[in-house]
Symmetry: C2
């Protein structure tokens, strides 16, 4: 964590100084704003936290509820989401608070007495094999609390406008604030009043029955299956020995997905309520909690649960729907979008693969920096079209996976040939539920794979997978990816060729070019801004940290910034293992020993992989995605 | 982290429900209280956080300053202190925020050109070899903030009464509130007013010029040396390559102890100002900051610092003083103490070994639970005499160590025969600066070492050194010591003999006895309290966690508690390595394979080591330190 950069900070360093629109932010929803976020679920709150890092942009977030979420809903947190929490500064706290999954166990009918269940398999959770972060279970309300804190403590000081609901919108052809939005006060002294406000952009994070989706005429395609599930968060006493372990239970009497929750006592159970008869007309949703508990006990036989408190329960029929496009621009039209859809507003599915909240958050992470860059003049408006282009296929993939997973979960025991079946599927697909299968295709913001072989372990379009390296200034082993906070900056990792710092090298030549007027830094950094305001450039040497003489490292990697012009010591790393880490990022990520440049987007996805000598290609990449703030020197 | 135990919790689980005196706690300092803490430094704030876990006890903490500490003072945090932060629930946050020490480097005169310095040694920091926690540097103000939060969020809801200073006290012979205290409002609308209040106990945490110490007539023995040091927290640009590494610099021009601070930019320098001439009469303390910076540059030659901001600076002469006894009871007198001294009020020394704040916090940790147990009727008053008996020798040891360390640090280069000398001394004594050398002698609360061989790795009187084990209920690898929060409870770790759960074993017999009317649980747990209210009893089996059938574990280790009578699943552990840990606590702590009982105090020190069969000895141990709440059954 870096601070004191603008002078000594005595208090909580996680609270940043208010800036721009964060200074004297109006308590009341104003008439005009740059970005209006509709809905404070996982996508909306992440987006608010992200926009708070762009305090020049006036962002508001409205929410129909009159306060924070209290109960229920999603709880599965993929390692990819914990990575994201790390970028927003609260991973260590939520990990300490959450249930950390170590195993998933599988139960099936006892061959001796098929009416009873027995444990058929134990599976180590996949997370630790694919990420430095665990797979968590924690109440969605707490995730929202942490993002709310990040939004409020960021320089934009964004807090939700509670008790205000979306009532409709019209996108006008022209004007500085082309989106006209009708809102209605749902609570408080103005309850019932309607207002019309104007925004440059509107983001619909308003759930499965999204009013924003309806207003822009997008179609939510798909349907619900004829299978119903009860879900309950319960405090119980029980003789079921796996109460504190995640389990899939396939019994003769039905199926349970059992998910222990944070705090050591609570668990969530998804209980199979069977096929819904035709013409049921959602009558199944009235199933009383007593009936759900009775079914659970039938499935758990010979074990049983004695429910001491029901914290929350619900009944749902499995739906799988995805919206055809995630913005308001008709297919084929060239104009830039003004309205976006995220989360459940554009993809709904079963809850049981622990996906929804995670994919929704990545929607927000994908969109936030793009809005920030366009609205602060760093990037052209066209950047915004990449949101739907990138996220709609991810949602389709999610729906397909979930359909398969939930039908596997709902099978009858006689349909299961191999009891290890589910366990096998679960592991084989581990990258998906971890959140790491997303791979964005080539576009203006993801380069072609022509140099991929120089960094095989950083696939283009996938998230930058961190490895431990040694910080040269203090010898501490740190994850290379962790200083990359969700601050909207592009990251450029320059992996050095073999020579040591101070010797002639391709890295030194690259660094000299990067400090020249031709470089992206010179072209795209706004006048008067710190040299690292847009690009966070780091060097990773192949040597051990004791063999990197920091005095000989190019100044590019030791920038002096802020009002005091202080040297930043934390951009120079060493790859060779040390007393504190056995990792070598060159070996683990298959990096060329001739050096390689890896460009990473503000949302942590690998954008380009280039040789140190490919300076023109690097300049060309950024010329597409960033506005020129200085004219390149004719060459 | 365990919660939901009294029903579903939606919000921040670190905020406990207010109870007892924490409900409707008066905003104004009342006339009468159980405990009055004078001073809100590290000892006082830890004590406040600890007393907040005893909400039946009315505790107030007064502080002369009109608000939180902002600047300067101590910053070195030993691993032992981070362990303590873990028990108070904020270790992961402060570790993320602090500077984590990985190396200490040593610099001396360049043999080629002795007016210049060169690096003579690099030493890996000791912390990681002795503890699972790092060695940190962080502003004392932040440590106090975290303890203040723990105090405010505990059931006692304790917040400091700022702007009130101690003016004197009288200990009366009798009465329910025998200590009469005079206080004076130092700030706010009542500034200048005096009041007389009454307390059962008073704790002087009021620093080197302690008014409480003076009031009880204790003598602060020792003196100041004739050596002065300047200290400054500065933001600089520099070519000194170890600016972000802890260093001891012994130059011809003098000495510097260089300590990087949290945030990535700031460092603290202790700069040798040389011998103080006789008759200086503290004139040296007027040394201007420009002179201190000039000296630093002289010592750093050929490097230099360009100071961009001075966050704080001071000049001090090294003092070494320790108070003869840490309470108000004359030597030889038998009455229980009413007034205690902690921290700088009873031991002062140089700042450079990074000791003061740490030892002060352990003073508070030692005293807090004792006050809590006596005032809630769990323990007899005699327990309070152990505070001075245990902590005064620790302070004496601290002073002796620090005197040696600071004279080593102040040597001239020509006095140093071996340049590795300091590095060698530093490592040889690593257990001391880590905070782990403290070993309390045998007493009512530390057993005799007759069975020490059964658990050689848990030395009696030393802090319980945690090891990873596997939690049986969910297969997660966790540190056995970490669930032991600073909640004032005794811990009893029952390490099993070889048989598995469910088979006849010494552990099963011990557990049966522990559930009998003869057991400490039955005798010393107040009527109506939860069965784990005083004793937190855990079992550690030798098997792997898959081979511990939790259904067959004695009920003692699966207690049902709280208003819902919920089973606590987190008291049963397995020692054999698993997919997630290579540790085996039986091997690492040299535990008898015939089983052993390890008793740990509420402040984490090992109190007794006994065979599973020594039930009478266990009963006898607790009969000395806890009041009987039920009459033992005649046997």
């Amino acid at each position: 964590m870096q601070f004191h950069h603008h002078g000594y900070v005595s208090g909580e360093p996680r609270v940043q100084d208010a800036m721009g629109t964060g200074i004297d932010r109006p308590a009341e929803l104003p008439d005009r704003m740059d970005v209006l976020i509709v809905g404070s679920g996982p996508a909306g709150m992440l987006l608010a936290a992200q926009m708070s890092q762009f305090p020049q942009v006036a962002t508001r977030i409205i929410e129909r509820r009159d306060g924070r979420l209290v109960l229920g809903q999603a709880d599965g947190i993929q390692p990819r989401s914990v990575e994201t929490f790390q970028a927003f500064g609260f991973a260590e706290r939520i990990v300490a608070e959450a249930y950390n999954i170590a195993y998933m166990n599988f139960w099936g009918p006892d061959p001796e007495n098929p009416r009873n269940i027995v444990r058929t398999a134990r599976t180590e959770d996949y997370a630790f094999k694919i990420s430095e972060f665990p797979h968590l279970i924690v109440n969605q309300a707490r995730v929202l609390d942490y993002f709310a804190e990040a939004a409020a403590h960021g320089p934009g000081r964004i807090v939700p406008d509670y008790g205000i609901e979306f009532a409709g919108l019209t996108v006008h052809d022209a004007g500085e604030y082309p989106v006209e939005v009708r809102v209605r006060y749902a609570a408080g002294r103005r309850a019932g009043q309607e207002r019309t406000i104007r925004a440059k952009y509107v983001v619909g994070c308003d759930g499965a029955r999204s009013g924003v989706r309806e207003a822009i005429g997008r179609k939510h395609v798909g349907g619900i299956s004829a299978h119903a599930w009860g879900v309950m968060d319960v405090l119980v006493n029980t003789d079921f020995p796996d109460w504190r372990t995640k389990c899939a239970i396939n019994a003769e009497a039905g199926n349970i997905l059992h998910i222990p929750r944070e705090g050591g006592y609570l668990s969530r159970m998804y209980i199979d309520l069977g096929e819904v008869p035709e013409g049921d007309n959602h009558h199944v949703r009235q199933t009383p909690i007593e009936e759900i508990i009775r079914r659970a006990n039938e499935i758990l036989r010979p074990y049983s649960i004695d429910v001491r408190q029901v914290a929350w329960h619900s009944v749902y029929e499995v739906g799988h729907r995805v919206t055809d496009k995630f913005d308001d621009v008709p297919v084929g039209d060239e104009r830039a979008p003004r309205v976006f859809l995220t989360g459940d507003a554009c993809h709904t599915h079963s809850a049981k693969a622990g996906q929804g909240m995670n994919v929704s958050m990545q929607d927000g992470f994908n969109l936030g920096w793009k809005l920030g860059h366009v609205l602060t003049g760093l990037s052209p408006e066209e950047l915004l079209a990449t949101y739907s282009a990138e996220r709609q296929p991810v949602a389709q993939q999610l729906i397909d996976f979930d359909r398969e997973w939930s039908s596997l979960m709902a099978r009858k025991p006689e349909e299961i040939s191999d009891p290890q079946d589910l366990a096998t599927y679960y592991l084989a697909t581990a990258e998906f539920p971890s959140g790491f299968m997303t791979q964005y295709g080539p576009s203006a913001i993801v380069g072609a794979a022509s140099h991929q072989a120089l960094a095989a372990g950083f696939p283009l379009g996938k998230r930058f997978k961190s490895v431990e390296v040694v910080r040269v200034c203090d010898g501490k082993a740190v994850h290379l990816g962790h200083p990359a906070k969700a601050d909207g900056r592009w990251r450029i990792y320059a992996f050095a060729d073999a020579p040591a710092a101070g010797e002639p090298s391709a890295l030194a030549e690259w660094a000299a070019w990067m400090s020249s007027p031709d470089s992206p830094v010179a072209r795209h950094t706004p006048v008067g801004a710190d040299v690292d305001a847009v690009f966070d450039v780091k060097a990773i040497y192949q040597q051990g940290f004791e063999d990197v003489d920091i005095a000989k490292v190019p100044e590019l990697f030791l920038p002096r910034t802020g009002p005091l012009g202080l040297t930043d010591w934390e951009k120079v790393y060493a790859a060779a293992p040390s007393a504190w880490t056995t990792a070598d990022i060159f070996a683990e990520r298959e990096l060329s020993r001739d050096g390689v440049v890896v460009v990473v987007r503000p949302d942590q996805y690998v954008a380009d992989v280039l040789p140190l000598t490919a300076t023109e290609e690097l300049a060309a990449f950024f010329a597409r995605v960033l506005v020129a703030h200085s004219v390149p020197v004719a060459g």
